[in-house]
Amino acid sequence: MPLDLLYFGALRDRLGRDAERVDPPSHVVTVGDLLGWLAGRDGAYRDALAEPSRIHAAVEGQPTGHEGSIFGAREVALFPPPGAL
């Protein structure tokens, strides 16, 4: 199922984009699965996602840990640790 990915903060520059539509295989069911699948796509993703602990996620606008499900989601955001203060 197509999934809209949104990137924020430094991740935008590292990936060279704000958003993209992807269609991950069916074994990708958690945020962690998604990160692993993206990192395997090419060197830019591998480098940008090299420190998974520094990548936070939101599924449908709700903060979600790496163990959280993306099943059925239409929008997943990935971003560096939040906080601008």
């Binding site: 903060g9 430094a10 606008g61 971003f79 560096p80 203060l85």
Partner: protein, 132 residues
């Protein structure tokens, strides 16, 4: 009352405190935060994800209300372009007890710092940019 504002424009801390003072005979604790940057920074851009920001700030407000039993909470976070030194965020709590208002305000500002989904991009005098 929990008032959450995610806005590009500046805000007036005194006006916000006045709104909370009308809710309760008691105390209002507030923190106003300016965007601090080193000298070579000429502009700051606050990146944000509106849907997530609304959800996270609403959750922070609801948690603080449940935990402290407050008369009122105001959370403001700006997004978009800022000059160094401009206000970027505001947290305030009103309660009958001074200690309760103060502790709640600390909870709010810590939560904004640790969890609010905003990211800073700084533009330097030489035109280069960096994320913080």
């Amino acid at each position: 009352m929990i008032d959450i504002r995610i806005q590009a424009t500046d805000f007036d801390p005194g006006h916000q405190i006045g709104r909370l003072e009308q809710l309760v005979a008691g105390s209002v604790a507030s923190v106003t935060v300016a965007a601090v940057a080193s000298d070579e920074v000429t502009e700051i851009h606050v990146d944000h994800y509106p849907a997530l920001a609304r959800n996270v700030l609403a959750a922070i407000g609801a948690e603080a209300e449940a935990r402290f039993g407050l008369a009122g909470i105001i959370l403001i976070h700006r997004h978009g372009p800022l000059l160094p030194g401009e206000r970027i965020a505001f947290a305030a709590a009103a309660a009958a007890e001074t200690g309760v208002a103060f502790e709640a305000c600390g909870y709010l500002i810590d939560a904004l710092r640790d969890r609010a989904p905003f990211w800073l991009r700084e533009t330097l005098g030489d035109g280069s940019v960096r994320w913080r």
